[in-house]
């Protein structure tokens, strides 16, 4: 196999990028598409920092071969909201002290978003399970869990 053009939908835009068969999705997103919000903490699928949403599921992009994203719909933290139109998860993470060093934050938010996209009223256990693949060494997860449940409420009430 040789390099080819990968075509996929990235944060709502059709994107074409040249990839090698050995490229992992995380490196294509970070190095070729400059999405530094996709963090890399281990490169082995063990920390969750590189989590993105692919076709509705949270995946650790460091163990997804880039070519697997052909035709896929991929969302990263850069695509979910920003000033003036933050995603409720971004708001609750900012307001409830769920962010410290911030290195785990984008992946954590994407894992939580994948959950909330499918489950509007997650239980505490479901929240914990959804983010159990995302390591945070700073917060002890207390305020992260609170932020995810607050965002769930916010989303439900907003509807």
């Amino acid at each position: 196999m040789s390099a080819k053009i990968l075509t996929f939908t990235l944060n709502g835009e059709t994107t074409k990028v040249m990839v090698e068969p050995s490229d992992m999705l995380v490196d294509v997103l970070r190095d070729k598409l400059n999405l530094i919000g996709v963090k890399k903490g281990c490169g082995q699928g063990e920390c969750g920092a590189c989590t993105v949403i692919m076709n509705g599921e949270a995946v650790t992009s460091c163990i997804v071969p880039a070519m697997k994203a052909e035709g896929a719909v991929v969302e990263t933290v850069e695509g979910i909201g920003g000033p003036g139109k933050y995603h409720p998860l971004q708001e609750s993470f900012m307001d409830l002290g769920a962010i410290q060093c911030g290195f785990c934050t984008p992946g954590m938010i994407m894992s939580a978003k994948a959950l909330l996209d499918q489950n509007e009223q997650p239980t505490r256990e479901e929240i914990r399970e959804a983010i159990s693949g995302n390591i945070c060494r700073c917060t002890g997860y207390v305020k992260i869990e609170e932020a995810v449940s607050a965002a769930a409420k916010q989303i439900k009430e907003g509807k």
């Binding site: 890399k40 903490g41 281990c42 082995q44 410290q100 060093c101 911030g102 207390v142």
Partner: protein, 779 residues
């Protein structure tokens, strides 16, 4: 309690938006045009001589731009930790590392490095370097390494075989006589595990060397200014030609990069010099595990004696820690272990004797708590044993003996404040201490227990280490405030708390203040972020700088408003005459007529008025911090499954005397994160080595970190026993959450099962074995 406008409020972190949107820049994200990628060849042996090294094939590989070994890099000795820049005379810093040496002393030690146009090519080139090793004898246990027959790891050890630096001795009173006068004495030796910081961003650096020889390094360091000094020494370049900065965010630290980020910075600089291009080095997670500092494991012995009524009378504390292959913080860590271990309780006769020992394991250095957790798990275990021996309630025994304000202690600064008694009382209430002993039904397979652990810590490292801060507050021409402080924000909220302090002093809204931090070029010298010091010590400098600027503003405003400056106050950027009705005043409306009598003036108008007259207000803060003890009591409730040995931590109540919480939600977050690291220390985390000196737990998968699914209920209780020496009464908080947790959990396990453990972590396997008849191991 005094109410403030900005201080004491849980305002949203100023870095939150960047971090929540993925735009926050970290070293691992940083790139430069033409940048190369560096990779490091590491030793597969725990101890060996490099007999020959041949890099010709690697150099020939297309895309390779530089190959460095001990042969073509400076032969300048250093210490990767900042200790080499802040050890206080007459002590001398231990220098025992080169960028590369011709002897390797642990598995993972640096042998060579390559810079190439891609990471893949750099990796491929590493495979082409041929190294011939001659294996040397190895030793992995600190007690073994002190024996005469043990291999020499470093030759110049004045205090004993393989002992780096000085042995720390702290004598108080008359120990021998003290023990003779005791009614009850308990003595036990404990074994502490080697654990890892596992900050989420691995060690990383990007180095650029200009054609004029100037060096710029973006890196993950917790101490940009001292790191610059280390790089200057290694490469023989003046400090003034080097810039070290964070870009500006750092993905956690927990002590692992006080000084260099392992060797990421000097290797990147050496490669960049040779290649003539910028070079980026990012450690893999495995490299981070095996080749950046761990916490010290080792042996700690506690001998504690008391009178019949429970009055502590003598304490002998001894430590022999595993320092690993290079010194790093191996003299300071046992120092803090002793200094903190001796300072929790009022005991007239005490002695501490402690040091590290070189072994052929990964170097041990700073990790959150810095020796203090290694002191407090053993001490708090023995205090509980003594309580049982005396037939006293463990809380009552502690309350009877804890340090009070003004008590004499071994520390060279006074105990000005303690809220420990209040921590104990509030924590006990919250955990339901009175339920203790009534938690289990007869015959239950899962046994519950409650335990306590208490402790103290420091708020910076003075006078043990060099420790000073500078800050500059500049009032801009539009009245907004610029603040410069050399400390980084490693996640602890510095970049929010420092502006809060400045805003409060200057009487402006937080939005008016912007901070430059973590950069040696644009900030004055600051020792950095470690020792729970940033808010307390750098904060003291910020308050001093803000007060200086405020004084200048009020003097100028006094002339402007024709009143004495003492009568002026500032609120929301408005300077006004106190006690005068402001209604109808033109300030801020932009319609003031010249000659009109004024009762107030906005900072904006005043700063511009000054600007038109060639003047700017610049406040400077230059301070040497005092020091102050934070206090804490942790209560743990655990459930031990007697069929499997699993210890489940149900709840931890962490009551902390923080002096004053500048931003309470940030303070709570510090405590919660510290608690969970403490739970990991107590129950799951450990790095072991095989017989060849290879780490058995060198990945996130193998190293048993707790996840969101394992988190106990954590309740942080803030006690504010105003510390007179701290900014607005604050003291250190960053490390304290980890310190007493293991003791509390081990005591809870004893309360549940009657098994007293002398080592951690309390893994399922270890507890199961102890339950099934072997009993806990002794050391």
């Amino acid at each position: 309690m005094k109410k403030y406008n900005v201080v004491g409020h849980s305002v949203r972190r100023l870095d939150a938006a960047e971090k929540a949107t993925g735009t926050a820049m970290f070293s691992t994200d940083f790139t430069l045009p033409g940048m190369l990628y560096g990779k490091v060849l590491r030793s597969p042996y725990a101890h060996a001589k490099i007999v020959n090294i041949d890099t010709t094939e690697a150099e020939k590989l297309p895309g390779v731009k530089a190959v460095t070994t001990y042969r073509n890099t400076p032969r300048e000795i250093f210490n990767t930790s900042a200790t080499m820049t802040f050890t206080v005379p007459a002590l001398k810093p231990v220098l025992d590392q080169y960028i590369f040496d011709n002897v390797v002393r642990y598995v993972g030690d640096e042998v060579a490095a390559v810079a190439a146009v891609s990471e893949e090519i750099a990796e491929e080139a590493l495979q082409l370097i041929k190294v011939e090793y001659e294996e040397l004898p190895t030793v992995f246990d600190p007690l073994e390494a002190m024996k005469p027959e043990a291999p020499v790891i470093h030759a110049d050890c004045g205090e004993g075989k393989n002992i780096p630096g000085e042995i720390i001795k702290i004598p108080v009173g008359d120990l021998k006589k003290g023990f003779e006068e005791c009614d009850v004495i308990i003595e036990k030796r404990f074994l502490l595990p080697i654990v890892k910081q596992v900050q989420m961003e691995t060690q990383a650096a990007v180095a650029q060397v200009g054609v004029d020889g100037k060096i710029t390094v973006w890196s993950t360091t917790q101490t940009p200014h001292p790191t610059r000094m280390i790089i200057a020494k290694i490469f023989g370049v003046p400090n003034s030609k080097i810039r070290v900065l964070n870009p500006p965010y750092v993905g956690g630290g927990f002590g692992v990069r006080i000084g260099l980020s392992a060797k990421a910075e000097p290797i990147a600089v050496a490669l960049a010099m040779q290649a003539g291009k910028p070079v980026k080095i990012v450690y893999s997670r495995k490299e981070d595990f095996i080749a950046s500092d761990t916490r010290h494991g080792g042996y700690v012995t506690v001998k504690l004696g008391a009178k019949k009524d429970g009055t502590f009378h003598a304490l002998d504390l001894r430590a022999a820690l595993n320092g690993g292959a290079y010194c790093s913080f191996s003299t300071e860590t046992p120092g803090v272990l002793g200094a903190m271990g001796l300072s929790v309780y009022r005991i007239p006769n005490q002695s501490y004797f402690g040091h590290s020992v070189y072994t052929n394991t990964t170097p041990a250095g700073a990790m959150r708590g810095f020796g203090n957790p290694q002191a407090m798990f053993p001490i708090e275990s023995v205090v509980d044993m003594l309580a049982e021996e005396l037939g006293m309630d463990p809380l009552e025994l502690r309350l009877k003996n804890i340090m009070k304000v003004g008590d004499p202690w071994c520390l060279p600064y006074p105990c000005n404040s303690t809220g420990l008694a209040e921590c104990i009382e509030k924590g006990a209430k919250s955990i339901g201490w009175e339920r203790r002993g009534r938690l289990n039904q007869p015959g239950a397979k899962k046994l519950r227990g409650i335990g306590v652990g208490v402790g103290t810590h420091c708020s910076n490292s003075w006078p043990f280490c060099v420790d000073y801060d500078n800050a500059i507050v500049t009032v801009q021409q539009d009245g907004s405030i610029h603040l410069a402080s050399g400390v980084p924000d490693i996640g602890t909220g510095t970049s929010t708390a420092l502006p809060q302090l400045a805003a409060e002093v200057l009487g402006v809204k937080l939005e008016e203040v912007s901070l430059t931090f973590g950069d040696t070029l644009s900030t004055p010298f600051d020792i950095g972020s470690h020792a729970s010091r940033t808010c307390y010590a750098a904060g003291t400098a910020v308050v001093a700088a803000a007060k200086d600027a405020r004084k200048q503003l009020l003097e100028y405003a006094g002339d402007f408003l024709k009143v004495s400056p003492e009568r002026l106050e500032i609120k929301d950027s408005l300077i006004y005459i106190t006690g005068q009705e402001l209604v109808g005043d033109c300030a801020g409306t932009g319609v003031c007529q010249s000659g009109e009598e004024r009762k107030s003036v906005t900072l904006q108008e005043l700063a511009y008025h000054a600007h038109l007259r060639n003047k700017q207000f610049i406040g400077v803060g230059r301070i040497v911090p005092e020091n102050a003890p934070p206090w804490h009591a942790h209560f743990a409730e655990v459930e031990v499954d007697t069929e499997t040995g699993q210890v489940k931590v149900i709840k931890v109540v962490a009551a902390h005397d923080v002096g004053k919480a500048i931003n309470p939600i940030i303070v709570e977050g510090q405590i919660e994160g510290g608690v969970l690291q403490g739970v990991g220390y107590a129950v799951t985390e450990e790095i072991r080595y095989d017989a060849k000196g290879r780490q058995l737990h060198n990945s996130l998968h193998k190293y048993m970190l707790l996840t969101a699914e394992d988190v106990p209920e954590i309740e942080a209780i803030l006690i504010e026993a105003n510390e007179p020496s701290g900014p607005f009464g604050a003291k250190g908080v960053g490390e304290a959450g980890l310190v007493p947790t293991a003791g509390a959990i081990s005591n809870a396990v004893y309360n549940a099962t009657g098994l007293r453990f002398y080592d951690i972590p309390l893994t399922e396997e270890k507890v199961f074995k102890a339950l099934k008849g072997d009993g806990p191991a002794t050391y």
